[in-house]
């Protein structure tokens, strides 16, 4: 997991500097995220997550837990953002066994193998980026962003987003989509009860190879237990 090395000094600073709290009467950050492939061609409509860091905020205790279903040998959705302290439910909707595991340094877990109709829950108490896989089906991959506050949003199919209740001040806004070569970011100055416009552009790369839960390559073709 050497690629998880700190390289964003500016972001690191943003995590320790001004502490504020999400404020429903704060400002809004709106805009559009466009996603292009590494060769410059436009990517089809793809979910992206836009988030702002620099201040902590507790999870909403009334929030409905997010779900990542296992359907058709895919995680659906394959990109989810939650606030630190929230749970994610993993239901298996396929007529065969799935496993859910992560070896990400931010959050290691193994939910075992479970059948159709069963679901497992994992909690995410600390911020981080977590790659999730199935030990049975190597083609299944998802990414979970565990964020330090509730000021994050999923883009619409057209790429539009709105971050509500951002505290007044200068913050760094990020956008990320799965397989992005890197997240993009920009500084914004948020004013109370005012909109701040920010458009972002992401470049998408190839799906990186991953190992199974034992740290080994998947067998050719991958085992499929029905």
């Amino acid at each position: 997991m050497g690629h998880r090395l700190l390289s964003g000094a500016a972001l690191a600073a943003s995590l320790v500097a001004p502490t504020a709290h999400g404020d429903p009467a704060g400002g809004r950050v709106t805009g559009t995220v466009t996603v292009v492939e590494a060769d410059g061609t436009a990517a089809p409509a793809i979910d992206a997550i836009v988030y702002v860091v620099g201040f902590p905020e507790p999870a909403d205790p009334k929030a409905v837990p997010a779900q990542i279903a296992q359907e058709g040998r895919h995680f659906v959705p394959d990109l989810v953002a939650v606030t630190a302290g929230e749970d994610i439910i993993f239901p298996n909707n396929d007529p065969f066994l799935h496993n859910v595991f992560s070896q990400s340094s931010a959050r290691k877990f193994d939910l075992g193998s479970f059948k159709k109709g069963d679901k497992k829950t994992a909690g995410f108490p600390d911020p981080g980026v977590i790659d999730v896989y199935c030990n049975i089906h190597p083609e299944m991959a998802a990414t979970i962003l565990v964020l330090p506050n509730r000021r994050h949003a999923r883009t619409s199919p057209a790429g539009a987003y709105t971050l509500e209740g951002v505290p007044p001040g200068e913050w760094t806004v990020f956008a990320y989509t799965r397989r992005a070569v890197k997240p993009v970011s920009a500084k914004v100055t948020v004013t109370a009860k005012a909109d701040t416009k920010l458009d972002l552009k992401l470049v998408r790369g190839a799906e990186p190879e991953h190992l199974n839960k034992f740290g080994e390559k998947y067998k050719a073709g991958g085992p499929t237990y029905k």
């Binding site: 050497g2 690629h3 998880r4 090395l5 700190l6 390289s7 964003g8 972001l11 690191a12 943003s14 995590l15 860091v53 630190a84 066994l97 496993n99 595991f101 992560s102 070896q103 340094s105 931010a106 959050r107 290691k108 877990f109 193994d110 939910l111 075992g112 193998s113 479970f114 497992k120 994992a122 909690g123 108490p125 600390d126 911020p127 981080g128 980026v129 962003l145 565990v146 964020l147 330090p148 990020f174 990320y176 397989r179 992005a180 070569v181 890197k182 997240p183 993009v184 970011s185 790369g205 190839a206 990186p208 190879e209 034992f214 740290g215 080994e216």
Partner: protein, 255 residues
């Protein structure tokens, strides 16, 4: 892979806040100790093959022994695991006349071993204190009317790199009209040293409380190591009461 290497530049700082002291994933029914049972259980529908090898050397009036415990361990649920062990023991011979006896190696027991973790399997959401109950029922191969039962209450405490553990075990051997009962108290600490290597120390004892006066106590260093689907733990018990040495190695390989 390049994409993965650079894509996290905006997220890694967030990650860095969260990972300090994060415990590892629950990884099969392993233990961080040699003689003490652990509090981890196998993930649901996972299977592991476990082998324990342990010695009891230098007990007064008792032949030295090397015992083998071997069996599959199956995750029934994330918190309940079942194993089906078979056990064999080698006993040293004696040349002392007039009771000279040859060394023996024989199947001793087989049975069922259940371990139930009383809190969630996920170490992050389970909390620092993890209790586990273990119950085993085994048939004594040599004494056909005998049944061996074992029970343990294990309480682990995990904080950062430190894992402390108490194991209060009891063994009962019941035959027609007779019974022997042994307490098996033990305790240990294990510290994550480097990566998946842990080092620690433990004390373990076997104290007959009914049917005789068989007792011994040993204390010594231990280690545990995990590598992919394989793990092992080992302890070298140095006898402090009615025992010279009590080394033990346990390993498991998951499938």
């Amino acid at each position: 892979m390049f994409g993965a290497m650079v894509r996290v530049s905006g997220l890694v700082a967030v990650v860095a806040v969260g990972v300090a002291g994060a415990p590892g994933t629950a990884h099969a029914g392993r233990t961080d100790f040699g003689w003490l049972f652990g509090t981890e259980t196998m993930p649901e529908r996972s299977v592991e093959l476990q082998t324990w090898t342990y010695e009891e050397n230098g007990r007064p009036g008792v032949r030295d022994e090397t015992s083998l415990w071997w069996g599959p361990v199956i995750g029934i649920t994330d918190q309940l695991e079942l194993s089906l062990p078979i056990e064999a023991t080698w006993r040293a011979g004696s040349t002392a006349e007039p009771t000279a006896t040859p060394a023996t190696f024989a199947l001793t027991d087989y049975g069922v071993d259940l371990r139930y973790r009383l809190v969630r399997a996920d170490p992050v959401t389970a909390g620092p204190v993890v209790p586990l109950l273990r119950v085993a029922v085994k048939r004594d191969v040599d004494t056909r009317s005998a049944v061996v039962t074992e029970a343990d209450l294990i309480i682990g405490y995990q904080r950062g790199r430190l894992h402390a553990l108490l194991d209060a075990g009891v063994t009962g051997e019941f035959a027609s009209g007779e019974h022997d009962v042994f307490a098996r108290p033990g305790a240990g600490v294990s510290v994550q040293a480097i990566g998946d290597l842990r080092l620690g120390a433990e004390v373990f004892s076997e104290l007959q409380v009914s049917g005789g006066t068989y007792r011994w106590v040993a204390v010594g260093p231990d280690l545990a190591w995990t590598h992919g689907r394989f793990w092992l733990s080992a302890a070298f018990g140095i006898g402090i009461y009615h025992m010279e040495t009590a080394p033990r190695i346990t390993w498991g390989i998951a499938f």
